[in-house]
């Protein structure tokens, strides 16, 4: 379609007509005219509108079905809830709407349609910008604004039109008629073209983003030993654009020195993360806050969430102790959080030199930041750490971590419990405070050492961002002249018989033409009096009298 247009233009016009008239077209020509018809169809404003509406409609499923690009766990949950429907929907890209072929197809067609409509209009407009305003029709009284004057001075008329910022041209014909033709409001079409062009920019920027961007999310606890570097293994979750390879990610490392969350009235009011980051061996620090990302050579690091890390020490039956820092997932606004402690290599027998069979230990835990023991409720309502406790359920046996399946670090494998491979050691969760321990039947203990904070960081690189930003700024800037500037023409003519006529024409729908033209006419001919306002304004619009 795209190539047929120039090809047709190059063909000699005589041949074209001949072909049209001949009853049997050669296949090539037929294809061309078919292509041209479709090209016109595609680039018409109505098609663009339909495509635009189609794009809007196509975006709807993305708001009703969970999206992989936003939240993969929700997609998994959908699969679990609708096992028969989900695979079918998946085949229709219902979980990847914004990268689906049908969404992309609409998007591409819209882009082609836009380009196809802008280019010819650009040509016409450039010509119009250079051309002189056209002459008035012979009978000026057919125009929407028309007045007869007793006389007018030409120099004065020119000055008045100049003052009103009209582009003016003078024409004199053989019979002595002199006409000044004036036009203004070219900015409307310029703005309009720029506006439509900016949409193309935005589409390109978004496309560039989906091809070349990447991101990774990371839960980062405080401390040097928790630092992470920018590679996919160290992210909890990540996404790569179609043209991004794992090895091309820039190298840097980030460490969380200190994290503060301030709370008031049961909700967080401020987060503040002090981070140290290293690029090419150079260290630097940054005060990372919500709405205040860290920029490392174009890659942004955002603070997008927070939570608590529970620190616990397990001392096994042989007295070997291991301490873990386990991030917990918050379940509600009060930061009641859930998590698990797993010790797959506990109970190493120093005498035999082997790990006891079925001696792996795990704990499902709920972390309550402010526990109120005066009520029967476990969960608290205050996110601040005023009386943190852990509610623990212990399991022993086979944690099922060696079977290679991905599994949650926030809970003990439920299948292992169901199959009996894990033995439940306490039916009712045991609540312990900081410094307290839970003792198991084999004499091993889990001690609650304390609570740290973690920050959720998102690292994101999107080269399309600046293009989209530029496009959006142009779009808004161009929208104003597009909508507010009016294109209009004004003529004044000295007829050979000594009479003078003026006329005005609006090229956009607007209702102030008469007032405006009367104003110009009054500037040209000082003794001109505009006619009485028409009687239909007798209904006092908005009258406050």
């Amino acid at each position: 379609m795209t190539t047929s247009e120039p090809a047709t233009r190059e063909s000699p016009s005589g041949g074209e007509t001949a072909v049209r008239r001949s009853p049997r077209k050669s296949p090539l020509k037929a294809t061309r005219s078919f292509g041209r018809r479709w090209w016109h169809q595609l680039t018409s404003m109505r098609t663009a509108l339909l495509l635009l509406l189609a794009l809007a409609l196509a975006a709807i499923p993305g708001s009703t079905f969970p999206q992989r690009s936003i939240s993969p766990p929700d997609v998994d949950a959908y699969y679990a809830d609708h096992p028969s429907l989900a695979p079918f929907l998946d085949r229709l890209w219902a979980f990847d709407v914004y990268t689906s072929p049908w969404f992309s197809a609409i998007y591409l067609l819209l882009m082609i349609s836009l380009i196809g409509c802008i280019i010819p209009r650009l040509g016409v407009h450039l010509k119009a910008l250079r051309a002189a305003p056209p002459d008035a029709p012979r009978r000026m009284e057919i125009l929407p604004y028309h007045r007869r004057l007793d006389g007018a001075n030409e120099t004065r008329a020119r000055a008045a039109l100049k003052q009103h910022r009209f582009r003016t041209v003078r024409r004199e014909s053989d019979d002595g008629t002199v006409t000044l033709a004036a036009e203004k409001g070219y900015l409307r079409e310029s703005g309009n073209l720029l506006f439509h062009t900016s949409i193309i920019f935005i589409l390109i920027g978004v496309a560039a983003g989906s091809l070349f961007s990447w991101y990774g999310n990371r839960i980062l606890s405080e401390g040097e030993d928790q630092a992470f570097c920018n590679n996919l293994q160290q992210y909890d979750e990540y996404g790569l654009g179609a043209y991004v390879s794992e090895t091309s990610l820039p190298r840097f490392c980030v460490q969380l020195d200190d994290f503060d969350a301030e709370f008031s009235g049961g909700g967080p009011t401020d987060f503040d993360a002090d981070v140290t980051y290293t690029v090419d061996g150079t260290e630097d620090t940054y005060d990372l806050r919500v709405n205040h990302p860290l920029n490392i050579d174009g890659t942004n690091v955002f603070l997008i969430g927070h939570g608590y890390t529970a620190v616990a020490t397990y001392t096994d039956r042989y007295g070997n102790a291991q301490t873990v820092h386990q991030p917990f997932l918050s379940m509600d606004a009060a930061l009641n959080s859930e998590g698990a402690f797993k010790f797959p290599d506990a109970n190493f027998n120093p005498e035999t030199g082997e790990v006891d069979a079925d001696a792996e230990v795990g704990f499902d835990a709920v972390l309550v930041p402010t526990y109120d023991d005066s009520t029967a409720m476990l969960l608290g309502s205050d996110p601040e750490l005023n009386n943190p406790v852990l509610a623990l359920t212990a399991y022993r046996g086979d944690l099922g971590m060696g079977d290679g399946l991905p599994e949650s670090v926030y809970s003990v494998n439920a299948d292992q419990i169901a199959s009996g491979d894990l033995e439940v050691l306490n039916d009712e969760a045991e609540v312990i405070g900081v410094g307290d321990s839970m003792e198991l039947d084999d004499g091993s203990t889990l001690t609650f050492d304390g609570v740290e904070q973690y920050a959720v960081l998102q690292v994101r690189y999107d080269p399309g961002g600046p293009i989209v930003l530029a496009g959006a700024v142009i779009l808004i800037g161009a929208l104003l002249p597009t909508l507010t500037v009016r294109r209009r023409r004004y003529w004044i003519r000295w007829n050979p018989d000594g009479t003078v006529e003026t006329a005005g024409l609006n090229r956009n729908d607007y209702d102030g033409l008469e007032e405006e033209c009367d104003g110009i006419t009054a500037d040209i001919a000082p003794d001109y009096r505009p006619p009485e306002p028409r009687t239909d304004s007798e209904e006092p619009i908005g009258s406050t009298s």
Partner: protein, 328 residues
Amino acid sequence: MTGAQAANALFVATIVTYAAAMFAYALEYAFDKRASPKRAGVLVASGGEAVDGDERLDERADDAASTAPITPAAARGAGRLGLILTYLGTAALAASIVTRVVYTGRWPWGNMFEYTVGVALAGMVTWLVLVQNRHVPRRLGLFATFAVTMVLGTSVRVYTDAGPLVPALDSYWIIIHVTAAITASGTLLIGCVFAILHLLKRRHDRQVSDGKWVGFPLSVAERLPDATILERVTFKIHVFAFPLLTFGIFAGSVWAHFAWGRYWAWDPKEVWAFIAWVVYAAYLHARVSGRSAKANAPWIAILGYAVMLFNLTAVNLVFSGLHSYAGV
């Protein structure tokens, strides 16, 4: 009385005042004879379109005048009172918002209730600007106060006690974003009212010119201004609101960039804002692209507002996304 109670008292006062204004406007709308169909007939004729059935309308207008319980002058007085009440109610609404701001010590758009109240304020200010600049006759305040009072009434259903903000909402970009979105929504509310009025008037005129009897509720449209005037006003409002809406979406995505790390996440709220924007762009296009498209344009504008409302209500309450406010 605490600040929150004062704010709520002012809020109730607003609703009562607007309801009284609506009643006053209704009197003017029904009984001011200057707005009678006879004038409307002149209007249409001078606008270039002939109106049939003029005589019959005249008769009815005279009937109405002779049986009217109040004189046209009294009706105009009621209209003046309605306008004064509208100003008072709007001042009370603004004062209610300011009181909340002082009480909570933060900018006023922190939850759905406050957002809705902001939309009502923006809508009423739009209306007052239109009346003050004589773009529309005062008696149409009947419809504006009705629409805004409905919005205020609805906002009560999502009432939230004044409280502090979650950190993600604490950025000046969101102030810009939400203020633009609220202003656009309020303006578009009035735009939607005029689109509806235009359609009513158009249908009424068609019935009349077909010689059909016009029954209630369509007969209410008899005293509306000329359909072409209503259409123009509708367009003007949308021309003003569309850049605001565009800017609001833009500011939202700048803010999303800083707060969530991505400028556009196809979050349900974003999806529906995009849809609304596209529908309004379609309205602007339809208005300039030929007669039949122009005739359909008001429907597109109404569809646009339906999408806005859907985005404000259903998307907040039903879909989960980054935009969900805690507890509404």
